[in-house]
Subunit: 355 residues, 2 copies
């Protein structure tokens, strides 16, 4: 027997499903602004793929002048780019829609942040050239399986329009937080598309194909589409850029507090430029104050914010946070309802009671 001086207490991923593995980040219990791979949310469509990384090569084919197959060593030898950025699942906060939507009930933790390092896709294209008629890039992954709406087997595949694919910050990443990308997050190579929701950042890259039309794979044309109507597909449009958003990390929703001074804290992020302002309300949105931002706002990364609150009076409080970005986007009072529940970014809201 022994002394117990310290008992380690730590948060874990929050299990949403195990097959495929979908687990979210315990966003309220993070320290720092780089999320360790152990707490980085996992979002999969299929079982994890089996492939040999010993014989791993990434081909770029289709409408290029010189199709090429890149080894990982090839990538290491090219100029690199490191990007600290939010990766957010487009289903993040789906569980907050009222009435409830069906599907994975993500709460507020289908989001993480870290530093991805790799080579700009446009740098690779200097080695292959690009045919004039090129319109989209299709990124095929190693993971595959049946979709419930079809008897066919699909690999996970997504496309990018040429303009987005050629942005210097669209990279083929080989490191996460200065380590090889963890297998569950796309080892050895993952497409990273800053500013877009996570479905665009294809894991376990198998092949890149340049085509002259719009790609119509099911993860492009059935899933990851906003359907504004419950009963039909009218007005649908694709999920792309991350919406301006914020989350209160402390206090917790429904927390019982006692009179005292509290540092309310949270994060805010956007796929459009930078966060320019975070406001907070303690009185359910009647009055708003500006929060302190913990650092200068950077493109792609979340910003931590805080607000010192003197809880002097007993009672119930509805606390809200509202972020604005440099393109003038503001979190709306109500979420944009869409049938599959993507892109939730209504003003953040929690209730607490001071006793």
């Amino acid at each position: 027997m022994k002394h117990f001086y310290q008992s380690e207490v730590k948060p874990y991923l929050i299990t949403k499903s195990l097959n495929p593995e979908n687990q979210e980040t315990p966003i309220h219990f993070l320290n720092g602004d780089l999320v360790d791979e152990k707490l980085f949310y996992r979002r999969n469509h299929f079982s994890y793929p089996n492939f040999s990384s010993s014989f791993y090569f990434l081909p770029i084919v289709g409408l290029v002048h010189t199709p090429r197959t890149f080894s990982i060593q090839d990538l290491y030898s090219l100029p690199s780019r490191s990007i600290k950025m939010v990766l957010e699942c487009s289903g993040d906060k789906r569980g907050l829609f009222e009435p409830k939507l069906f599907g994975e009930q993500w709460e507020k933790g289908a989001i993480s942040q870290g530093i991805w390092k790799g080579v700009s896709l446009r740098t690779l294209l200097e080695h292959t050239g690009l045919v004039n008629s090129a319109k989209e890039f299709v990124f095929e992954a190693y993971d595959y399986g049946e979709r419930p709406d079809s008897d066919s087997i699909f690999n996970f595949s997504r496309s990018l329009p040429i303009e987005k694919a050629l942005e210097p910050d669209t990279i083929i990443a080989y490191e996460y937080n200065n380590q090889p990308i963890p297998f569950k997050h796309g080892f050895p190579l993952r497409l990273i598309v800053p500013g877009w929701y996570g479905m665009a950042s294809v894991k376990w890259l198998k092949k890149i194909t340049v085509i002259d039309k719009e790609f119509n794979g099911p993860f492009q044309t059935i899933d990851y589409v906003y359907y504004p109507n419950k009963e039909n597909d009218n007005g649908k449009f694709p999920v792309t850029t991350v919406h301006v958003n914020s989350t209160i990390q402390y206090p917790l929703n429904s927390q019982l507090l006692h009179k005292g001074t509290y540092m309310i804290k949270g994060i805010a992020w956007t796929g459009n430029g930078r966060i320019s302002k975070v406001e907070i309300s303690i009185d359910d949105g009647q009055t708003w104050e500006t929060c302190q931002l913990a650092s200068a706002a950077n493109k792609y990364s979340w910003i931590s914010w805080n607000y010192k609150w003197e809880a002097v009076k007993k009672g119930e409080y509805t606390i809200k946070s509202k972020a604005t970005d440099s393109q003038g986007n503001v979190q709306p009072s109500e979420p944009f309802w869409n049938r599959k529940g993507y892109g939730y970014n209504a003003i953040e809201k929690i209730n607490v009671k001071v006793e």
Copy 2:
């Protein structure tokens, strides 16, 4: 680099707070009916205690003829009793109350099950005797701290009336699932009170004192009390026996399903005798069918149940489960509202959509 043939996928505890540590069992993702310590919910009032288990002794004092101090070896040498049983926090399912109550937002996982082994308290009392005026047993634990409603420091302490304390199944446990009790669950000795909510099963036992009146510590008279009124304490009464209850483990709430045959499964338990029946409804309670029970019902332990559902028609379904115990208790349609949110046991309900 290497092949990836298998990537381990496993559930974790669900973090509710870290200081003190409160984490719940991922009840929907359990295998088997003995919960591993890693997935056993953790519920604390204070930081983990520091004490030396090398000099550990358990005194029984107060209204006994011969006060005695028992070593762990003393306990090992006495006749033992093993009990497979549910331990459920009285705040389990608090998060389901509508409107929301304040306090720890336990979902459906503040419950676990395993085999506790130890010595009946009444066996220890054969060595101390008991004074006639004895009325309650007070169990003091090593964990302590400030309560937000007071400036004093309290150890966690709870009492049992003499009748409950002397039931043969009330044991001083030293093993959980055939191993020494994990530190976070009360090592080296934990009081185990089958049939009562978890607050009665005091961890890290420090001392047992027999008294001739009602104990009035704050975890007895302020917390763990049902307050039926929002604004006053009228009609309050203590939290004791576990209510008859059930949980649907599969499918998940808000899950999207496709036409097919599903095995709906769950657990049911009670602190009153045995589970005698579990019924299920697929049509929001209009019609009920009897579920298959996976084994004979035992006192104290949960029973697994299942029901084969042919989901042949598209649409939204409200699935309910309702358990009945051998004393005739049935889960109610509505939860018993009480200000601190204890003992939730309304009919279990989930919504799914078949596409």
